[in-house]
Amino acid sequence: MELIKPAIGLVFWMIVTFAIIFLILKKYAWKPILDMIKEREEGIEKALKSADDALETMRELKSSNEKILAEARAEKDIILKDARDTKDAIINEAKAKAKVEADRMVAQAREAIQTEKLAAITELKAQVATLSIDIAEKILKEQLSSEEKQKTLTSNLVKEVTLN
């Protein structure tokens, strides 16, 4: 029976002590501790969320970067293609021009050659004529050097001329 009979003194001291512990701990321990824990949890949550947000931003940035890069690459390709085209065009034009020039020069050369040739032929002809005249002169001189010969020639020529 002794065990289950609450002693009045202990009840009194328990009420006083427990109330004091409760009030002191409530004000100076539980409130700051719970506030701090809550604050820290919120801080951690916020940090995690901002990390997530940063990751999301990074991902967006990365994808936009990639897009820009792809665009740049495409642009580069276009520019390169354009450049190649321009180059080809320039080369082709140059080639065409060169060909035309070459043709022209060849034609000119050919013309010059022709002219030179003609001049040469003309001169040759003139020289040949001079030579022929000289030779003929010499031959004539030879053939008309003696009387006898002159007679022979005249006779031959007369023979040749047949009067019809």
Partner: protein, 390 residues
Amino acid sequence: MSYITSLLSKKTRVIALFIAIFSLSVFKSFAYEPTEDTTKKAEAHTESGKFDAGKLITEHIGDSYGWHMWGEGHNAVAIPLPVILYSDKGLDIFMSSGFHHGAEDVVAKNTYRLEENHIKVVENGVVNEEATEKLTDLSITKNVMSLLVSAFLLLWIFLSVAKSYKNRVGMAPKGLQSFIEPLIIFVRDDVAKTSIGPKYEKFMPYLLTVFFFIFVNNLMGLIPIFPGGANLTGNIAICAVLACFTLIIIFANSNAHYWRHIFAMPGVPAWVLIILTPIELLGVVLRPFVLMIRLFANITAGHIIALAFFSLIFIFGEMSTGAGLGVAVLSVAFTVFMGFMELLVAFLQAYVFTLLSAMYFGAAIEEGHHAHDEHHAHDHAQPEAQIDLV
């Protein structure tokens, strides 16, 4: 838990007894030499000099005016504690050492005598029972002293933890703080939030105070020597005050919905209410009463088991030294095992008391959802029923 503990204790006692009898029969054959030494060693002898286990246990789990350290009778060493008595003749304050372990009467405004650990008023050399009844005893007994020590311990622990929270804002917990924080979060998340709901914050200071008060005092009770050793949480007065605080907080926070469910359970015919309302009303008082009994019985049972095992040593020691030594090995082994059980019980009972208090607070502030009333009754009944097994 008390159920399991008592079951276990019965089993272990039977085994211990069996082994003890066996070892006795072995030792008796070649080590039976009853000496005066063995009887002198035993504590708490009755007048006839025989060892009385019941008396030893009752003394150890009960309260006393001095804090007994070692020795017995007139050679006992005890820490003297103040005795505060109030009677018609006025207030008397003196130290418990004045009794000289019951050998002398203390003469103040009354004459007091220490008899069987109780202070009696003596008139003309005879105990006056009528005057003793009127005595108001506010002495700083062993349990009150233990209460004060634990109060300082609690204040020291939690004020220093609170300080380290202030010094380390936003940083990870460190030292004592990192040991306490999981417990605080456990009480908050697993006890308060789940049982009370979104309004849990209001009840947190009380729940935390009760939890750590019971836990720390349970652990102190497991320490065999000063400043531990007092069976504080196994004292009915302490348990009763704690349960009363819970009841007061239930009443202070209960809403109309709570009382309607007690006086006029909605959806129940009037003639059933005649039976149901008294039962519900009884339940209001019975719940804290059961809280008190559960804590008291669990902690006291743990102390009784440990003391019973040690008593076995002296009971067999009186028969023969050998038997006493043989049983000592077993008793110590079982007490170590029970010590670990008690560590678990120390936490478990603190948890159960806090959880049930939180559930009663939750029920008191619950707003009506009449469509789900049946489900609610079911939801509440189940965890309570489970805990009642503990």
